[in-house]
């Protein structure tokens, strides 16, 4: 229950000492507007989808279709976010042929938060940390076999105070 | 309940604080100086309130805008806040032990 348990601190120690294991290959700021060399041509950033205010418009822009609710999409998100700035949300699904997974927050100024491409051979399971402006539905959309499936959960968000 | 009493007293205080009619620059200056002095005393007791400072700033702003009614009222509020903080610091000198785990 404490974060001082051996397994964990052993990992932490490894990370510190193993800094050399993470070799730095390239670093630097490309001039503004230059396309990154590593981005493949078919991996276009969905600029428009990230401009949509509502989740429905974002999904439409991203996939061109609508999603149906599926209990095969399992989302894990807190009931009450400890802080809206960092809300751990993860999803996993038993659906086959998953090609992408997207996270949306209905009440955020921009609904689409993240969209992940899942090539064949990668598990249909993602965990990430997202921002939430206020209490809202979090929507996960899974694209599988060319169709869209979704799950929704409300996460309560409160801010500030005398905590910690 | 106590809340009701508190609120009605607060309202009375509020009426008292704002009913001063047509305050002039001199009234403001006197009220501001009194508030500053009280806040200085609170500082010597190491117990200033952030709200006192905000109220002093508000008073200054009203005064800069020529609204000496509001400026004086704010300065008086600041003084009341500072005095409450002094009262708090003084009474806590003994009272802190009430909370102590022993």
């Amino acid at each position: 229950m404490t974060n001082t348990d051996n397994g964990f601190s052993a990992t932490r120690r490894l990370i510190l000492q193993g800094a050399g294991a993470v070799a730095l290959v390239g670093l630097g700021n490309l001039p503004f507007g230059l396309a990154p060399a590593f981005a493949a041509a078919n991996d276009k950033y969905p600029e428009e989808a990230f401009k949509q205010k509502s989740e429905a418009d974002a999904i439409k822009s991203l996939y061109g279709k609508t999603a149906e609710v599926s209990d095969k999409v399992k989302m894990d998100a807190p009931e009450i976010a400890e802080n809206g700035a960092v809300v751990p949300v993860s999803v996993t699904t038993t659906l086959a042929d998953v090609t992408s997974i997207s996270f949306l927050v209905a009440e955020n100024p921009v609904a689409l938060v993240a969209s992940y491409k899942i090539p064949a051979g990668t598990m249909p399971s993602v965990a990430n940390r997202i921002k939430m402006a206020k209490t809202s539905n979090v929507i996960v959309v899974v694209e599988a076999g060319g169709k869209l499936y979704s799950a929704t959960k409300e996460v309560k968000v409160t801010v500030g105070g005398c905590g910690g | 309940m106590r809340i009701t009493t508190l609120t009605s007293i607060a309202v009375l205080l509020l009426l008292g604080a704002t009913s001063a009619l047509a305050a002039g620059e001199d009234d403001y200056k006197a009220a501001y100086a009194a508030a500053e002095a009280a806040n200085k005393q609170a500082a010597s007791l190491r117990n200033q309130w952030t709200t006192t400072a905000s109220m002093l700033a508000a008073a200054k702003k009203f005064a800069d805008g020529g609204d000496f009614d509001k400026a004086t009222a704010s300065a008086k509020e600041a003084e009341a806040l500072a005095k409450a903080s002094i009262f708090q610091a003084t009474s806590e000198k003994e009272r802190w032990r009430d909370l102590e785990i022993r």
Binding site: I15, A19, A21, V22, A23, L24, V25, G26, L27, G28, N29, L30, P31, F32, G33, L34, P36, F38, A39, A40, D43, Y45, P46, F50, A85, V86, V87, S90, V105, N108, P109, V110, L112, V113, A114, S115, Y116, K117, I118, P119, G121, T122, M123, S125, V126, A127, N128, R129, I130, K131, A133 | -
Partner: protein
């Protein structure tokens, strides 16, 4: 300067689990600074993980991803000692790349 990317990739034999943490402000463009002025958007737009020259995972991110973003996924295959290449590019065109050994 140290890399902005921290990667932990662990092979269980059949699959490799990857966790990454990236140092980035991820400013959404909707938050005001202490002076009340909007902080301009500055966030990572795309993050890719490549194994054997092929992408195994691509993230398209908006400003709604938390500061110092974190992501976790897993893919089939991946051997201990093999390298995983991780790169990101943000909305201002800045990039960083690193390679991590699968453990």
């Amino acid at each position: 300067m140290a890399s902005t990317i921290r990667v932990r990739a662990t092979s269980s034999g059949e699959t490799t689990e990857v966790q990454a943490l990236i140092q980035h402000p991820m400013d959404s463009g909707f938050i005001k600074d202490s002076k009340g002025e909007l902080i301009p958007p500055h966030f990572i737009q795309q993050l890719t993980f490549e194994y054997n020259g092929k992408p195994v995972f691509t993230a398209d991110w908006g400003g709604g991803v938390s500061k110092d973003p974190y992501v976790k996924f897993a893919f089939k295959g991946g051997k201990k000692g093999d390298e995983l290449k991780v790169s990101w590019v943000d909305n201002k065109g800045a990039t960083d790349t690193t390679t991590a050994k699968i453990q």
